[in-house]
Every structure is written in structure tokens, then in C-alpha cells.
Subunit: 341 residues, 2 copies
Amino acid sequence: MRPTVHDIAAAAGVSLATVDRVLNQRPGVRLVTREKVETAIREIGYIRDVAAANLAKGRIYPLVFIVPTGDNSFMHGLRSEVHHATIRASIERTDIRIAEVPPFDVPALVAALDAFQGQDIAGVALVATDAPEVRAAVGRLVAERIPVVTLVSDLTDSARHHYAGIDNIAAGRTAARLLGRFLGDRKGEITVLAGSMLVRDHRERLQGFSAVMAEEFPKLRLLPVLEGRDDPELAGSLVSRALSESRDIVGIYNLGAGNRGLIAALKAVRPERELTVVVHELTQHTRAALVDGTIDAVLNQDAGHEVRSAIRVMKATADGQAVIADQERIRLDIFLKDNLP
Amino acid sequence: MRPTVHDIAAAAGVSLATVDRVLNQRPGVRLVTREKVETAIREIGYIRDVAAANLAKGRIYPLVFIVPTGDNSFMHGLRSEVHHATIRASIERTDIRIAEVPPFDVPALVAALDAFQGQDIAGVALVATDAPEVRAAVGRLVAERIPVVTLVSDLTDSARHHYAGIDNIAAGRTAARLLGRFLGDRKGEITVLAGSMLVRDHRERLQGFSAVMAEEFPKLRLLPVLEGRDDPELAGSLVSRALSESRDIVGIYNLGAGNRGLIAALKAVRPERELTVVVHELTQHTRAALVDGTIDAVLNQDAGHEVRSAIRVMKATADGQAVIADQERIRLDIFLKDNLP
DNA sequence: AAATTTTTGATTTACGTACATCAGAAATGG
DNA sequence: CCATTTCTGATGTACGTAAATCAAAAATTT
């Protein structure tokens, strides 16, 4: 049987109340007594029964998710995952609120963050737009001892406690290698479509992609990046224009959202143009395009995992507990048409 | 605040004891009363607090993992993950025992399974060798209402409650596409190395691999499968021999274990022979080979996830609770040198 | 050594559920 | 309508921890 607080009390020769004071760092225990208890805890290998503790505390965690609006499938899926979490909220002792802000809108994001200053909040998760103002707003929350977690896209040099998302440099590198290897001996131009260079995830993907392309696939030349603002319409028209302007394009990498528009543009030039295409985010559109051969590979981050991980981290941070870094690592999923879930 | 048993009692106009009888399907409740309570449960949306329930029950789950011996890294890793689970055992209210059996040894596996007949066991997880005798032994356990979960490799047409592992047909198909696309316009022979056709995971990987190769890459010809019994030494010598016998081999797929031997054989013929290589299981050896370019892609199943999933499923099954299929789906990881964890 | 402050002990209630007991009520049989 | 069986209520204890209260003991100050 695993040891309980009673066993510590007995082992340390003190009362239950004193053990409680030590365990919950309450005042009124002499240093020598505290050390006696801590030794006993270590020696008999006591581990707090978190379930029982939470039951006794009756604690609930008010959490906030700040996510961008926008009608691309990924953000839609992310919002839906957060929503799912609110449904499980009562059983996880959380109380989750969702705040929506326009995408790539720094003042709006700052306003949303500042709204939670001084509030009774156990944690804030946000999809960060990488700007100094946002960094400062996050700093203000952290200064108030509110746990802050960035979701999907990180915030450079900020005080945020944790980042729940994939390694975007690695993602970009992987995309480059897939595209380069799939193209084999072919030479030509590669078009990269991004949402905005204002967000760090997109910048990092491009960085990783460019690095591997330059190092390992010199026969492929990168065209200037197209910024589609994660908007399907805009993305589609940008790609259509690029394809009509150059006949040498052999590959496309979409590191942002807006795949719906991209896919439509691709279908418009098929089958005359032979293109190898790698995109991010598995949605109903990219899935169908993967199956029908319009797209060759999809890189994906599991929004559900990211949301659940963010919640775990915020709760742990609020309780001053350590997070198991390995368990919270978000993996990059690679989907070909054969391993779709 | 989420509703409790007290709220049900009040809502249904019955006593706490009656609610308890209904919730835990104890006898002594008239049909009409039972229905009254069940309606109240549904209407106020009561969800049992599992933490509190487990606390009250003081229940522990005695679980058994039957894993193959053998000194390949994957099984080593699997055993180590089970061992890790035994360390977390006390906090998860489990009591995990590990039984080791020789690999591909049907009688030994059957004996191990039968040893748990009539024992007080909350669940058995096994790496299945796909044979009728094993199927029968699993049937006997299931008949005793002991939850049985297959791990890594499944058991055809058996009564096992759940399979905690990847979709091996999809894995084989994915390997074929990666190999085929990486080879581009090259033509030649492909060597497939397996552990044993006695285990279903290997058979399925081969099946998926062969299908995609035949459908989509007719320029690549499959050589007869080499059976390396997941033994590094044997695998290495088989591959060395194959490579010396044919100069037309352009690709290798190792769908089993024993990568250490394969890698040694590959290094022996490098850089004269240009080979594209896809293997299974990320280990220290395959990781190094991926980084130095000896291997082009590694397909992986996360043994830790599999073990943890198996535990969750056995506990849920023992309690007669439903498992969330989506959450227990084990993903196929694809690693290139750029996205190593 | 007395007065004061600090530390410790003993005890109780609570969290939400499980489980057992016993008495009393309701339904059923004859 | 009474006897019997079946159902229901009331109540208490337990799980391991948190948190509060009050009294008693020990340490510290004067």
C-alpha cells in the first residue's frame, strides 16, 4: 500500500496537522521540525494523491484561450478543439473561456490579453502574433503570476511559461526534404505560399525550408514568398497568378492556411502542369486532395493534442508543479495518401 | 458546480442509498424507481466523479504484460516502457507484472497466457504471435471476463477486446510510397527484410508494401522476402548476401527489427552502392543511420504510447466503461533526418 | 520567573463516492 | 387482512487530503 500523510506523521513523530503545514507550506513550523518531516517524506517515498487532494480542495481552474477568428479550416478546427475541452471542463475541474480576435491584429490581441489583468484566472493560452506589444502584454500577465502558454505559434523572447506547438523549423526542413526527394532529378522553381511573416511559425517554417533547399537541393530555385494571409480566396489567386507567370514551377509548399484556394488553383491547371505539392494542416480539403493526388504530402499538427497539452501545462504551472517536457512535446505528423487516419 | 449523487437523489425524490443502488447496479430497486433515477441522472447531466469513486473503492488493477525476450532495440524499448509504467503504478492504482516469453514461440506464449486463468487479474496485454493456439488461449481468458489487449501485433479473428498498435497495412503502404517516390525514375530490385511471417504485423506490412509497389511503381521489382527473425546478426548476413548476389538492388525495406545488422551491412557496401532505405522503429541505431544518410526514412510506433494506451483500455474494460476509440488510435510516425525528436 | 510569542497537537468537517447495516415502508402472496 | 417478501430510507464509515479551530506545549523575550 502506498504511504499516506498518516504514515509520514508516524514516521516523523509529529502530528497530522504539522505534516499538513509542511506539505502545503503553511507557516508555523520550526525549521528543525520541517526538516524532520521532509526527511520522513523522502525516506518512506510519499507521493501526494493528487486525486484526493483535488477532491478535498474543490479547486477549479478558470482558463482562457485566445484564438484568431478567420474561416480557414485549421483555426476552425482549433476553436472546435477548445470547445470540446469546455465540454470536458467539469470533469477536469476547469472553466474554459474562449476569446476570439482578428488574425494578425496586434492591437486586438494586446487588448484581449490586457482584459485579463487582475482577473482571477489560472492561465491564458494564446495563438501569438509575434510583436513587441504582444510580448509586453504577456509580460504583464506573467508579472501577475498568471501562467501563459503560447499555442501553435510562439512569441520570441517572451516570458511565456510554455509553447504548445510543433518545432516549425523542423517542419520546414521536413517539407523541403520531402519536396526535394519527391522531385528527384527534376529541376525548376519552387513557390512558397505563407500566411503572414508576422507570425513566428510561418517565419520559422520558411527558414527551415529555405535552409534545406539551399543546402541539399541546389537544382531547385525558390521564388519570392507569396503572402496569402491564410485566406483561401487570396491564396488561390496568388498561386494562379504565379503559375501563369512561370512555366518552370515544379513544386509548391504552402506553409500557412488557405489550402482550399490553393487546391482550387491546382485543379484548374491539372493535368497539364505536373506539380509536387506539400502543405500544412490536415483538413477535409487537404485530405481529399491527398487522396485524389492533387497534393503529395500533408504536414500536420494535432490541434486536439495542443489544446489538451496547453491545459495540462497551465494547470501544472498554476499549481507550481513541474511539467514533463517529453510528454508535452507536440509531434509533427506526416501524412501521405496511405496513412491517413 | 457539477451535480453530485445528492442532486440526483433530490431530483428523483429518492434517498442516496437508492441512487447508489442504481448507479452501481446493485439489486433491490423496483423497475419504476430505477427508471425514475435514471431519468434524473440524464436530465441533470450527472457524471460520476471517477477520482472520488476510485478513492472510495480503493481499487487497484492487477495487470499483466506478456512481451517477447530478444535483444533487438524495439523490444528492449517496449520492455522499458512497461517498466516505466510499473514505476507510475502506485499513482495510477495499477499493479503491473511483466512476463517474458521467447519470440515467435507459440507454445511458450500459450503457457504464459494459461498461467493467468483463474487468477485475480484485471487485464492481460500481449504481443501476439498469430496462431490458432494463441487465439484459443486468448479466448479462454476472455471467457473468464478478463480483458485482453494485443500490443504491437494483432491476433486474427480473436476475441481480444482491443488492439494497441499501428495500422500495419497503412505502414507498409506508406513505406512503399516513400521508397517509390524517393527512387523517382530509377528502376531495379527491392529487397524486403522481415522478422517472421508468423506475426501479423509483419505480414500486414508486407501486404501493404507489395500492394502499393505493384499498383504504383511497376518499375521496381520485389525480391523474395528475407526472414531475419528480428535478429541483428542474421538480418545483417542475409542482407549482405542479397546485395552481393544482385547488383540491381536499389532499395531496401526492413519491416521488422534487427536494424543494427542491416545498418552494418549497408555501411560495408557504401558508398559504392547507392541504396534508398526505409526501416521501422526509431532506435539509437536507426537514428544515427538516419542522420548520417545510411537510412532515408524511419517509420515508428511510439512504444510508450502503446503501453499507456493498453493500460487505459484494460482499466476501462475492467470497469465496463467504453473506450474513446479516437483517443486510443496509435499513430504511425514518419521520421526523416529533419524531424527527429 | 513571568509574560509573551511561536510552534505543535488534537480534533473536526469537508470533498464525492462506495458500501454496509438495519429499520421501516410498500408491494405481493395467500 | 395478515404474513411474507421485496423495496426503500436513514445513517454511518471509509478512502486520502485540505483546511480550520482551539488548546497545550515549547521557545523566546522581558
